[in-house]
């Protein structure tokens, strides 16, 4: 097993990296406050939905970043299968946790937005529905992790589940879209007034920074836990030569 212990032993660069990530987190937080204030104060009400349009500034960035988190899960899983480094698995798990939070947030905000605009909390709209499916896949991924005790096995299995889940996302999206558009017309492609694009982008970037910070932080905690577990294992197996987990 390529050891996490060795990575953690190089504590000094780790610490400076920690400082760098904290900067990212603080920057994200500041930008998020600024972007929200800017968006709420400056953008005009929408023709149809009035000030409700402002929910876009929290809902859409959450959705974008949830997709990004899922992409990260898939890439880290792929890299784990390629190289077999346990750290990649921990990265995938950290991204999945943040991704689950973001998809959950997206769904909650979508409902809050849907009630006043559509009059209903939930509709079988393609994007909504595929986000819900994504949420369930994240949840299943994380539950699988808690059900498997052996670190190596957990890593292998969750990498495979993450990868197959990623393959399924486009198919789910297409199928739900056909299923719904066959019933309900999706008319013109999305158009967005220029006064809305900049606050939206700023909010998205802010949330992305926060997400990066969260994933990095969670990842480092997971690495530490893994290190501790390996130390304990080494202690338990002390004296047995070549003793490592099967």
């Amino acid at each position: 097993m390529e050891s996490v212990v060795n990575r953690a032993a190089t504590a000094a660069p780790m610490a400076s990296r920690e400082v760098r990530w904290t900067t990212v987190g603080v920057a994200g937080l500041v930008l998020l406050v600024a972007a929200q204030v800017y968006g709420v104060l400056t953008s005009p009400p929408d023709r149809d939905m009035g000030h409700l349009q402002k929910i876009m500034y929290v809902h859409v960035p959450a959705a974008w970043n949830a997709m990004l988190a899922f992409l990260l899960v898939a890439l880290a899983s792929l890299r784990y299968l390629w190289k077999g480094r346990l750290a990649d698995d921990l990265l995938a798990a950290s991204a999945a946790e943040v991704g689950m939070l973001l998809t959950g947030l997206t769904l909650a905000l979508g409902m809050i937005w849907g009630k006043p605009t559509w009059g209903i909390w939930w509709t079988w709209e393609p994007r909504l529905t595929s986000t819900a499916v994504l949420f369930f896949m994240f949840v299943a991924y994380l539950i699988l992790r808690t059900f498997v005790d052996d670190a190596e096995r957990r890593a292998q299995w969750s990498a495979v589940v993450g990868l197959l889940g990623a393959l399924n996302v486009p198919i789910v999206y297409m199928s739900v879209r056909w299923w719904r558009t066959l019933h309900q017309m999706q008319s013109s492609p999305m158009t967005l007034d220029s006064s809305y694009t900049w606050p939206l982008r700023a909010n998205a970037v802010a949330l992305m920074l926060l997400m990066a910070y969260a994933v990095a932080h969670r990842y480092r905690s997971a690495l530490m836990t893994q290190t501790a577990d390996e130390l304990m294992d080494r202690l338990a197996l002390k004296g047995t030569p070549g003793g490592s987990r099967a």
């Binding site: 947030l105 905000l109 009630k115 559509w118 909504l128 999305m190 997971a222 530490m224 577990d229 130390l231």
Partner: protein
């Protein structure tokens, strides 16, 4: 990529749009901040647990390794 976003792109006309929906707007931002702060706390708890685990492992190991 933009077609992947989950936002309500359609305003079904069955529903007249009320003029004031401040409660919903405030709720949306409140939920967002609840998530941000809540997850921040979770991050800190996870870090503390990890640090405690490393500490106990180190002390259990003593001078062994």
């Amino acid at each position: 990529m933009s077609s992947w976003i989950a936002w309500p792109s359609r305003v079904p006309p069955e529903v007249p749009v009320p003029e004031y929906n401040n409660a919903f707007i405030i709720a949306a931002f409140a939920v967002t901040w609840l998530a941000v702060i809540g997850y921040g706390l979770h991050l800190r708890r996870a870090r503390q647990a990890a640090e405690a685990r490393v500490q106990s492992a180190r002390s259990a190991l003593g001078g062994g390794a």
